[in-house]
Amino acid sequence: MRDGVIDDLETEKAAVAEASPIFELLNGFVTELRNAGLPVSLSENLDAIEAVRHIPLEDRSAFKAALAATLVKNHTHWRSFETLFEVFFSLRGAEYALDGDSDDPFGDLDPDDQDGPPGAEGQGQGGGGGDGLTPEELAEMLFQAMKNNDQALQRALARQAVKRYAGMEPGRPVGGTYYLYRTLRNLDLDAMLERLMQEAQEDAGGLTPLEERLERDEYETRMDGLRKEIEAEIRRRLVADRGAEAMAKTLRKPLPEDVDFMHASREEMTNLRRAIYPLTRKLAVRLARKRRHGRKGPLDFRNTVRHSLSYGGVPAEPKFKYPRPSKPEIMVIADISGSVAAFARFTLHLVYAISGQFSKVRAFVFIDGLDEVTSYFDGVEDIAEAVHRVNTEADVVWVDGHSDYGHAFEVFWENYGNEINSKTTVLILGDARNNYHASQAWILKEIEHRARKLFWLNPEPKAYWDTGDSIIGEYGSHCDGVFEVRNLRQLERFVDNLV
C-alpha cells in the first residue's frame, strides 16, 4: 500500500521531470540537499515542484524563496541551502532565464570565458568595459561604489576583481577560500574601510563616537555585501569549471549542531555561539515541562474528593500527587587546556543555563592546577561573560600548562572531596590526554563511591580514545558512564538525559 503510493509519486515526479529541464535540475538539487543532511521528504519535494509552477522563473529571488519555503523547515539549515542554491542555479542563466544580472553594466561572463580558462590575471580580453581599467582605477571605482552604495556597480566590480586577482585556472584542485583570499588581499578592504571612515569624518566635520559607530556599521554592511558578491562570482566560475554536483560535494559543510567542537573554524565558532542561546532556552522549557509532567504519583485522595463536588460527588477526575523529586547537585570538573577549551566553554554554558534544574552547581577548571570558579557565575546575567572570565582569569597552571589530570584530581580530592555526597552528580570534561603523567585513577573510584553519579564527557571521536597519551579507558572504568560529546547535538542529548 505504502509502496504503491510512493510508486505513484515517483511516476508523477518522473513525468514532471520530463516536462521541463528545470524540474530535472530541481531533482538534482534536492538530492544534494539530502546529501548535505537536510531531511527533505518526498512530499516536500513535490511541494517544491508545485510551488515553482506558480512563480515566474525569471524572478530569481521569488524562485529561491519558493524553494526555501517548501524544502527548508529548520532555520539552522538555511546556510547550507543558500550555498547549494547558488551552486545549482547561478550558472544556468540564459537557458533557464534565472540569471537576474541584466543590470550588470559590464555584461555577463564572456561566452569564451566559460569554456576556456576563466580569465587569469591579465588574460581577459574584450570582456566588456571593466577590462581596460588599471588596478588603481579599479580600486578607485570600487571606493566610489562603496561610498555611494551603488550596488550594481559593486557587483560588476566584484566580478572584475575575481577575474583579475583570483588567479583561477581550470581543473586546479583548490577550494573557493583560496581564491577568495587572493582576491580580498588585492582589494585590501580594511584599508578601504579606514579611508571611507576618514572621508566620513571629514565630510561631517567630525563625528561623535556614536555617529562614528553607526557609520562604520553601515560601511561594514556594504563590505559584507561586496564580499558575498565576490564569493558568488568565485562559485559561479568554479561551477562552470567543475560542474554543479562536484562543487556541491566540495562545499558540503556540517550543520551547526554537527560541527566538531575541537575543529571548528572561527566562523563556525561564531555560529555555534549564536546557536547556544536558543538551544538553552529550548532545553530549559523542555526540562521544566518534564519536571511538571514527568511522573504521576499516587492518588491524591483529598484533592480528588474536592474536585468531585463539581460532579455531584462522583470522583470523575482522579487527582494524583506529584512527587517533588529532590534536585541533584552538580559538580563540573573541566579541562580547559588548548584544544578542549571550546568544548569546556560550551558545556559550562549549557549547564549554567539550566542551573535552575539543579539544587546547586559548582564548577572547577584545570590544566595542571585546579581552581574553583563557581563564584564567577554567582548572580551574573551574562553566562557568556562569566565563561570568558573563567578562561582568562582562573588559576589553572601549576607547572608547565600541559594537562595533568592526575594532579588536578589530587587537588580536587584534597580540597573538595568531602563535600561530595549521595546527591552529587559529578561531570568530568576532557579528552583524558594526560601527557603521560600519573593517572591517580583511584580518586575517581573514591568519587564514584561517594557521589550519586559520575560521568565523563569526552570531545574526541571514539576512534581516538586510548591512543597516544589518552587514558580514557582507565578513568572510564570507574565512571557510571563515558560519553562521546563532539558537537552541540550530542551535548544537548546528554544534558537532556541528565535531568
Binding site: 521569488a62 523547515k73 562604520r216 522549557v285 551574573v380 551574562d382
Partner: protein
C-alpha cells in the same frame, strides 16, 4: 477555485495599505500559500511581526480572523469542539417522560444544536472567507499537535458522532512559533516555512515611518541604524520591532529630534531589558569603535 491574490506584488502592495511592510520573501510565501492551499508556519525571534502578519493578511483580504491561542494544556475540547453536555442532560431529562426511543434521543442530542464549536472547527465550517491564526503553536504538547494535522492537511474535522465535516472554503492558515521546542516533522511537512527575522535597516525604517506618524525621515533613519548596531552585538535579548516602535514613539513624546549618546543612554531601557545588555551596548557606543572592532578580513 478562486484565488485571493493575482501577483506577489499585489500582496506586498495590499499589505502596505494596511500598514504591514513585507519583503519579497514574506509577500511571496503568502501568495504561494493561497495558490497551493497550504498553511504557513512562521518562526522567529519575539516581536518580528509573526502574529501581525496573519492579522494584516486578514484585514487586507477582507477575511474574518479566527484565532486559536495555544497554551500548555490546550486540548481537543478547546481547540476543535465539545459536546454541550449540560444541554444534553437537560434534553434527556425533559424527554424522559415521553415514549421516545433512546436511539432517537441519541440522534438528537448528538446534532449540531448541541455542538460547541471551537476555533479550528469554526474555521472549517465558515461560509465566508477566513484567516485562521494558530498562535504560538510551540506551547502545546507534542501529542496535541496531532489534533491539528487533519485540519491542516485535509481541511476537515472528523467527529465520531457526526461524521466528517469538510471545509466549505480553504482557509488561509498561519501558525506561529517562538521555537521553544522542535515541532513535529509531520506538522512541518504540511506547512510552508517562513523564518521571520529582524527586518533590514531599510525596511525597519519604513516600518517606523508607517507606525509612528509624527516622525521625520532623519530620526527614523537614526532609530533604525542604532537598532541595527545594537542587534549586531552579542546580547541576551535583542530589541524587537515593537520595541523599536516604542522607542521611536518615546523619542517623539520627549520632543527629541536627534539621538546623541546622552539620549541613547537615557532611553535605551526601552530597547533592552537586561541590565548586562544595557551596559554592554552603552559601552560599545561610548568607546571609539575603531579600537573595539577590528574589521573581519
Amino acid at each position: 477555485m478562486s484565488h485571493r491574490f493575482e501577483t506577489v506584488d499585489e500582496v506586498r502592495g495590499d499589505l502596505a495599505k494596511v500598514d504591514y511592510l513585507a519583503d519579497d520573501a514574506i509577500a511571496g510565501i503568502v501568495y504561494l500559500a493561497d495558490r497551493l492551499g497550504k498553511p504557513i508556519l512562521i518562526e522567529g525571534p519575539a516581536g518580528t511581526g509573526k502574529t501581525q502578519l496573519a492579522k494584516s493578511v486578514a484585514e487586507m483580504s477582507d477575511s474574518r480572523l479566527i484565532r486559536l491561542q495555544c497554551y500548555e494544556g490546550l486540548d481537543e475540547s478547546k481547540a476543535l469542539y465539545e459536546w454541550n453536555y449540560k444541554k444534553q442532560l437537560l434534553r434527556i431529562q425533559t424527554e424522559s417522560g415521553e415514549d421516545e426511543s433512546w436511539t432517537e434521543i441519541q440522534d438528537d442530542i448528538f446534532s449540531d444544536e448541541f455542538l460547541l464549536t471551537r476555533p479550528l472547527l469554526e474555521a472549517i465550517r465558515a461560509e465566508d472567507r477566513v484567516v485562521l491564526l494558530i498562535d504560538e503553536v510551540d506551547r502545546v504538547e507534542i501529542e496535541t499537535e496531532a489534533l491539528l494535522l487533519e485540519v491542516l492537511s485535509d481541511y476537515q474535522v472528523s467527529i465520531p458522532e457526526l461524521g466528517t465535516l469538510e471545509a466549505k472554503q480553504v482557509p488561509l492558515v498561519f501558525l506561529t512559533s517562538n521555537n521553544t521546542r522542535e515541532l513535529s516533522e509531520a506538522l512541518k511537512r504540511r506547512c510552508l516555512f517562513l523564518h521571520l527575522d529582524y527586518p533590514t535597516m531599510e525596511r525597519e525604517k519604513e516600518i517606523v515611518l508607517t507606525k509612528v506618524p509624527d516622525i521625520n525621515e532623519h530620526l527614523a533613519d537614526q532609530v533604525a541604524r542604532i537598532v541595527r548596531s545594537i542587534r549586531s552585538l552579542e546580547l541576551k535579548k535583542h530589541p524587537s520591532v515593537s520595541e523599536t516602535i516604542d522607542w521611536a514613539r518615546t523619542l517623539i513624546l520627549l520632543g527629541i529630534e536627534q539621538v546623541d549618546e546622552a539620549v541613547a543612554s537615557e532611553t535605551i531601557n526601552i530597547l533592552l531589558k537586561y541590565r548586562s545588555d544595557i551596559e554592554k551596548a552603552l559601552k560599545e557606543f561610548k568607546t571609539n569603535s575603531a579600537q573595539v572592532f577590528t574589521p573581519a578580513s
